[in-house]
Symmetry: C2
């Protein structure tokens, strides 16, 4: 039997289809929303619909933006000759938070994954190669340090090499502040391989 | 500086104001929603608005329902002379899931908490006392086994005693399948106090 009124059940179902939200959290969220003031709930759903309707890819770097060209690409003080390639907009934001990187970005929206059937044609690779026809000095590959990220980095470096443009990969190793005993062996070996002279 | 487009930031802010959703989860949810098909997102926000607009208290037991009287209160096969008092609709649903309880409910929508400034007048106690004027044989107090739940149970039992209606409290003890070594001392002592003869 249905435990709640139909409309509550429907809401719980919708909420629990979100990533990382189980049935229990969905129930808690549903009752929270039902008990909030009507205008607050409206503001919430408006924010969702507004973002969904007005967010699209930047014409240059393919990050998600509500302008035609994102604020980074349209900033003349950024170094447009250096392109950092990331898997998604959240990775871009992670580097922006450092406040140190002065180049621009290219967002692939995914990574090559033979397991999931995601090939080079399914991510914004063609678009990147198109940008490289312009005045670009360096491409920094900052895809994740996962199997998919590494595969994508490898594939990408092979595409870029013939163009003569410098191509680099962000370092992989022990995180700052990381305690060696808590770090997995693959990372430890990576850190060893990537050691630099002092 | 703002890491994302204004509309994304606004959505993340709204999402992270939900209970149990931190900034990281909010970011993940925001990008998930932005990338979902527009009609799917519309269905999601409609479910929220529809539930918010059409869910209200049952006239009898004050559970949340989309009908005037909830399906439990309007079911003639339930025992309307036995009322189980719970703190909220989710607690009601937990007992309904057992499929064994045949009485009806009364939902308080909270519990007395001097710490939070929630007094007897802030929960549906008056409404319960009003129901007790009818033909009621027993009130089963099933508020939570927390400080607030126990305070409410105590207060309630003192109100009910003079009416001559039987008043009981659900048992508190070791959960079924619970491993003694993982159970807190208060529960262990409760289980000891509440021991029954074999």
């Amino acid at each position: 039997m249905d435990l709640y009124a139909g409309k509550i059940n429907r809401l719980i179902e919708e909420l629990s289809s979100l990533p990382g939200i189980g049935t229990k959290s969905a129930g808690r969220l549903a009752f929270y929303l039902i008990n909030e003031p009507e205008d607050r709930v409206k503001r919430f759903t408006d924010a969702i619909l507004d973002a969904r309707a007005n967010i699209h890819y930047c014409r240059e770097c393919y990050t998600l933006t509500d302008e035609e060209v994102c604020p980074i690409c349209s900033n003349p003080r950024r170094d447009h000759g250096t392109i950092m390639v990331v898997e998604n907009t959240r990775d871009l934001a992670a580097y922006e938070k450092t406040d140190k990187y002065e180049g621009v970005y290219h967002v692939l929206h995914g990574a090559i994954s033979p397991m999931l059937g995601i090939g080079p044609g399914d991510i914004k690779l063609k678009e990147l190669m198109h940008r490289l026809a312009g005045d670009v000095q360096e491409v920094i590959i900052a895809t994740n340090s996962s199997l998919e990220g590494e595969t994508t980095a490898m594939y990408l470096s092979k595409l870029i090499k013939p163009t003569g443009i410098r191509c680099s990969r962000i370092a992989s190793g022990v995180p700052v502040g990381g305690d060696l005993e808590n770090i997995d062996e693959v990372t430890l070996l990576r850190a060893l391989e990537g050691r630099t002279e002092l």
